[in-house]
């Protein structure tokens, strides 16, 4: 019933998809749609069709487009990052479940979760350089600061694999713990953090060898990272525990814990740094966390199984800053 109301509302608003700045885009993975939520009113203003099983999104290196990836229809729909207008469709990107650009913008990598392969493209023109089949549900990815290596977690086989980007050869494969998911290369380029969804911890790997060199207890179902923006703190969603941990990566300790029920998953932060928006997969909602109070202050109904989230803003990505590109901030399972 809600669907009809939203469609009617969209029709009343006219056919244009352009929306207000700081509106929020949410991918409804089981509704084949994306929602636009107005940040100010915290209301869903429209819901638009989108391929099939859209899960994740990523901002292009120039910061002008956000690519919404549909895993079953093999396409990327590009929205203008400032007003949400659809600009183009990139086709024939097979099962783009997880996706990301290398910090130098030269490489584009996708993890095909359902089809068990990792695709490495030359970003210019999306020319496929190599497709590597890896059993075990490739799920999350991150890059080193120098754009020489991409690290991919294999959720079902408890492994992480590192690829040399210029040659697309495997550098190492390491078994590191149960159901590795979120991957984050820290700006120092010396510590690779992996969230263990099958456990309640984040492990630190040596990016050169894959050896586990540290462990931080977080919450059950540790899953996905997102930068607070100060280069030191990262948020981490804990899907089973229903919390978000704020990790101090300098001291490797938990600075704060926020209760976010309903299988919290992907996150984005407002341009003013005041709010963290996080999808609540099981509640069909997106939660708004006030970062001054460090608590959920609103929860907005959207479509079924909301996954990727992106807040429209003029400076979506500061090109060349590895801290944003390396965080895989919009690319999570």
């Amino acid at each position: 019933m809600n669907r009809f109301v939203i469609v009617a509302l969209a029709l009343c608003m006219g056919a244009s998809t352009a929306v207000r700045a700081e509106s929020v885009v949410i991918l409804n993975s089981e509704d084949a749609s994306y929602s636009i939520v107005d940040r100010a009113t915290r209301q869903e203003v429209t819901r638009l069709p989108l391929g099939r099983e859209p899960h994740h999104l990523v901002v292009t290196p120039d910061g002008k487009e956000v690519l919404l990836a549909s895993t079953v229809t093999n396409d990327l729909v590009a929205l203008d990052t400032t007003n949400g207008t659809q600009r183009r469709v990139v086709r024939d990107v097979v099962d783009p479940y997880q996706l990301g650009y290398s910090p130098d913008g030269k490489w584009f990598v996708t993890a095909a979760y359902r089809l068990d392969h990792i695709d490495i493209y030359r970003a210019d023109g999306f020319k496929l350089a190599s497709r590597i089949f890896m059993d075990g549900l490739p799920s999350h990815l991150t890059f080193d600061v120098e754009s020489r290596t991409v690290f991919v977690t294999l959720q079902q086989s408890n492994r992480v694999v590192a690829f040399d980007l210029p040659t697309q050869a495997i550098k190492w494969v390491a078994e590191i713990g149960k159901a590795p998911a979120g991957a984050l290369m820290l700006p120092d380029d010396k510590r690779l953090l992996i969230a263990l969804t099958g456990e309640d911890a984040v492990v630190t790997l040596d990016p050169a060898t894959g050896a586990v060199v540290g462990r931080l207890q977080t919450g059950k179902g540790a899953h996905q990272f997102f930068p607070k923006g100060d280069g030191r703190h990262w948020f981490l969603s804990n899907r089973i525990e229903g919390t978000v941990s704020l990790i101090d990566t300098q001291d490797m300790k938990i600075a704060a814990t926020i209760r976010v029920p309903g299988g919290p998953d992907c996150m984005d932060i407002t341009a003013d740094g005041k709010e963290l928006w996080i999808t609540q997969r099981f509640l069909r909602r997106v939660a708004v966390v006030d970062l001054a109070q460090m608590k959920v202050v609103a929860s907005v109904p959207v479509g079924k199984s909301p996954h990727g989230v992106f807040i429209l803003k003029a400076d979506a990505v500061a090109p060349g800053l590895p801290i944003r590109a390396a965080s895989t901030e919009t690319a999570t399972k």
Binding site: M1, V7, D31, R52, R114, Q156, A179, T197, L283
Partner: protein
């Protein structure tokens, strides 16, 4: 968001967070996190369906019973089938077996560069008409189910399985789920692959199953009621379960459609009349299913299936009757 939907999602989330996700976490099954959440919804929908059958359909059936001569004791096993199916036990087993097969098919097809279509891409108007979109997918799904049902009757090895469904002499609102587990598996495999091919969305698929199975439960009701050419009702479907006679040797090779009779009308298999007929199968070895429990039925019918796979000349050597 409507209050009812809020309650529904809240209950689903509570069951999942309290019971299911801790178990998945404990047993290292986090790869099944999202499917398990959907399985909880499937279970809840099953509870609703059982309530509708037991509290709604059954009351109507008792009020307007058509055939009062049958043995009510035969119905008990059908309630077991209904509970096992609606509450997800059989579907879980079927899922475990079918999932690798459907996934591998999808993988091969997509590696060849074929992407599953979606009707909305051909008819963008459907994007703005959710009800029309749902009905179109429902009709397509029912079209496929019609042909699967014809195959169940046409192929001797498949009939060996499906005949369990027809062997019930006392057809009631509980009869719809009375199927051999291998029969359930085969039907699911074909229809899931079909649904993927035409682009049925997961949410619509669940709704199609929910609405379709309720209509099918009612179409087995022991009452004389019909919906004409629009929807399959008891009068239409009871004829499909009719006991063959010398005059009507192939009576059950009619009225195959699960939900929309239009397929039978279009393909010449529809019969509309109000003649009173008994139900069951005029074959002693199949009729022997009556009075047996769930386990014995599953075992003996599987034997029937295996014998049907043998060359015709070999079957009599292994015949039990």
């Amino acid at each position: 968001m409507s209050g009812l939907l809020e309650v529904w999602i809240g209950v689903q989330n509570w069951i999942f967070e309290t019971l299911v996700s801790p178990a998945l976490f404990h047993f290292g099954l986090m790869s099944w996190f999202e499917p398990a959440f959907n399985a909880v919804e499937f279970f809840m929908l099953g509870v609703v369906q059982i309530a509708v059958i037991a509290l709604g359909m059954r009351l109507l059936e008792r009020r307007w019973t058509l055939d009062r001569a049958g043995d009510a004791g035969l119905i008990g096993v059908d309630r077991v089938y209904t509970a096992l199916n609606k509450l997800g036990v059989i579907p879980l087993i079927v899922f475990i077996v079918a999932y690798p097969v459907t996934t591998e098919i999808e993988r091969q097809v997509r590696v060849w560069g074929v992407t599953p279509p979606r009707l909305e891409h051909m008819l963008p108007w459907l994007y703005d008409h959710a009800l029309a979109s749902f009905l179109l997918y429902f009709a397509l799904y029912d079209f496929a189910a019609y042909w699967v049902h014809r195959a169940q009757h046409r192929l001797s090895w498949w009939w060996a399985l499906h005949s369990l469904h027809h062997s019930q002499r006392q057809v009631t609102v509980w009869t719809d789920d009375r199927n051999h587990i291998v029969d359930d598996l085969l039907v699911t495999l074909v229809l899931v692959i079909f649904a993927q091919f035409v682009g049925v969305q997961p949410d619509d698929y669940v709704l199609i199953l929910m609405v379709g199975r309720l209509i099918e439960s009612w179409s087995h009701a022991n009452v004389d009621q019909g919906f004409g050419w629009l929807i399959v009702g008891p009068r239409f479907h009871r004829l499909h379960h009719a006991l063959a006679s010398a005059d009507e040797r192939h009576i059950h090779d009619h009225n195959f459609a699960p939900v929309f009779p239009i397929w039978d009308i279009l393909f010449g298999t529809a019969i509309y009349d109000r003649k009173a007929r008994s139900t069951g199968v005029a074959d002693k070895s199949i009729d022997a299913d009556n009075g047996r429990g769930w386990v014995v039925q599953q075992v003996t019918v599987f034997g029937r299936f295996l014998r049907a796979l043998l060359p015709r000349g070999e079957r009599s050597r292994f015949s039990r009757s």
